[in-house]
């Protein structure tokens, strides 16, 4: 069975898109067919990490929601550019990115007119089937909106990303409550951008008891990530970095339970 994983953070700047992209690349490297869809229609960003410009894709998620294309037509195969040496015909690994539109007018139109959330779910289900995905990662908009709630509602796993920051902590409580109302089967937290010198054991325990939800990893704030500045996939550039190892452990948890 294919698995849908949503990553979410209540506020921007938590490293959500970076983390999602890295988890997806690592999952693909582990030999799976993986998709990432950018449902952050208002402020799309995942394309940047895969260096996709407006000229690299003909259709976006917006086009699908307007009925201009089938969802799989909006999928860009980024296997070669993000994983490297893979046989053209190989079934696995394979990595697809489904971007949101980068055009101001199209972003404005979706915000103005809205769309049928049921159709978004149809698109997610069609992606799983038509691209024969093992895993579909959904990069959601920060905060709570319809795309986010739908993503949580259809997910098998929800990953919440927080920084060690009181505003993040309070906002995340809202998401946790909504996720429980939506009966998401599995949920865990990643604490990201933790500065050196912080007592990570105490932090982990604090967050865990705050939400009654597991903290799967505590990821350090590192200069290399900051310097990469979302121009590349971190785990590709720094394959032996401790952060890459931590992300690989999280990936193993996601794909390990569902080989």
């Amino acid at each position: 069975m294919a698995k849908i994983i949503s990553t979410h953070s209540f506020r921007g700047g938590t490293g959500k898109s970076n983390t999602t992209a890295n988890l997806a690349v690592l999952a693909a490297r582990a030999g799976h067919r993986v998709g990432i869809i950018d449902t952050d229609i208002q402020s799309p960003g995942i394309h940047v990490l895969f260096r996709l410009g407006p000229g690299d894709f003909r259709y976006s998620l917006n086009d699908y929601l307007w009925g201009k294309c089938r969802i799989e037509e909006a999928a860009c195969d980024v296997t070669t550019r993000s994983i490297g040496q893979v046989d053209e015909d190989a079934d696995r690994p394979r990595l697809f990115v489904i971007p949101s539109s980068l055009k101001t007018g199209e972003i404005a139109r979706i915000l103005r007119e809205g769309y049928d959330v049921g159709r978004l779910n149809d698109g997610l289900q069609d992606l799983l089937k038509r691209l024969r995905l093992d895993y579909l990662f959904i990069d959601t908009h920060p905060g709570v909106n319809e795309e986010t709630l739908l993503s949580i509602a259809v997910s098998d796993l929800l990953i919440l990303i927080v920084r060690p920051d009181q505003q993040d902590f309070q906002g995340t409580a809202v998401t946790v409550e909504l996720a429980r109302k939506l009966d998401v089967p599995e949920m865990f937290l990643l604490i990201n951008k933790v500065p050196t010198g912080m007592d990570v054991v105490a932090l982990g325990e604090q967050v865990q008891s705050m939400y009654q939800a597991e903290v799967a990893a505590i990821l350090p704030l590192c200069n290399e990530m900051v310097r990469t500045a979302s121009s590349d996939i971190f785990c590709n550039r720094y394959p032996d970095h401790p952060l890459t190892n931590e992300l690989a452990a999280v990936t193993a948890r996601i794909v390990g339970a569902n080989p």
Partner: protein, 346 residues
């Protein structure tokens, strides 16, 4: 989402998302895709406005009695309600006059005659039932109001309560209906001859042509069905559209007479109280559970939407929706709407 969001708004939003994510959506898409491929039937062409419909249009919508709506296909395309208006206007007549008076003017017996037959019950001079044209005209004649505009306003207000939005008349269809409605005028005058309708029959015929020309979409039909399924209260607006005690009288007449001269076989095979119209719509009601709306203009020889019939039939068989189904062991629509989700919530 602002800090002022009320808890019930959150529940509504959560419900909407659960419905959008429900496996039932996939099932409806699959049913829709299969029957969309069916290429049979003829679009009604007795007036030019109806003949303009695209034969590919096909919508399938389901609304729960607690207000969740699933729409697949062309669910927002407007079309004229036509005969689907009949049970609803019958409901308004019941509210205006009570059961006994209404039954003295129109019967509730199924008839094997065509819907537009010029025939009355010989013993009582009543039309056989409110779903044939004669009965629907007699029913329209019962709608109260100081004058004609007020009667139209009350009629539209009733449909608006059922749909949960303001509805309007398609003027081109209305004009065509009244220009070509000679047969219906003949029926009206026959009833006038027998004293079954009053002197205002000319107005009542106009009202009847108006009621047939109300514009709805497939989603509206599902919501109208869900309102009946919910004891007469529109589950989207919380507004009462008809008195609870009359709902059963609408549903029983829909089950026995709702599908033109296919009604008997429909009650037997499908068993869902339903009403179809030559505009291509069908409304179905699963009491206490769901309203079903289908829309596809190509009609079979009895005047029912071909794809609509197939979709309702499949829903009924797969999910045990027949009114007299008992001991059904398969999955129900409800199971697919809110499935137990696997896994432990940590």
């Amino acid at each position: 989402m602002s800090g002022t969001t009320r808890p019930d708004e959150i529940d509504l939003l959560i419900g909407k998302m659960k419905t959008a994510a429900a496996p039932l959506r996939e099932v409806l898409r699959e049913i829709h895709a299969r029957h969309a491929a069916v290429d049979e039937g003829q679009v009604a062409d007795y007036i030019p406005e109806l003949a303009k419909a695209d034969p590919h249009w096909f919508g399938l919508a389901l609304a729960t009695s607690d207000g969740q709506v699933i729409e697949v296909g062309d669910c927002r395309q407007l079309f004229t309600i036509q005969s689907i208006s009949k049970p609803f206007v019958f409901g308004l007549a019941l509210e205006d006059h009570g059961l006994e008076h209404v039954l003295s003017k129109v019967g509730v017996e199924p008839t094997g005659e065509a819907f537009n037959a010029i025939v009355l019950d010989e013993a009582s001079n009543r039309p056989f039932n409110p779903m044939v044209n004669a009965g629907a005209i007699a029913t329209a004649d019962l709608i109260k109001g100081r004058d004609f505009p007020e009667r139209v306003t009350r009629l539209l207000a009733m449909f608006s309560r059922f749909c949960g939005r303001d509805v309007y008349i398609d003027n081109a269809v209305f004009m065509s209906e009244r220009l070509t409605g000679h047969r219906n005028r003949a029926i009206g005058h026959l009833m006038l001859n027998f004293g079954m309708v009053g002197e205002r029959i000319a107005d009542s015929l106009e009202l009847y042509f108006q009621q047939c020309s109300v514009l709805v979409n497939c989603r509206d039909l599902a919501v109208m069905g869900a309102t009946l399924a919910n004891g007469g209260v529109n589950p989207l607006t919380g507004q009462r559209a008809i008195e609870q005690s009359y709902v059963k009288y609408l549903l029983s007449i829909m089950l026995s007479c709702g599908m033109y001269d296919y009604a008997g076989e429909w009650a037997y095979r499908v068993g869902i109280p339903s009403k179809s119209g030559v505009g291509g719509g069908i409304v179905g009601v699963i009491p206490n559970q769901f309203g079903i709306g289908t829309f596809s203009p190509p009609l079979d020889r009895k005047g029912n939407s071909v794809r609509g019939i197939l979709a309702c039939q499949e829903l009924s068989h797969r999910f045990g929706l027949h009114a007299f189904e008992s001991g059904f062991s398969g999955p129900t629509l409800r199971d697919l709407l809110a499935p137990p989700r696997q896994g432990d919530l940590r």
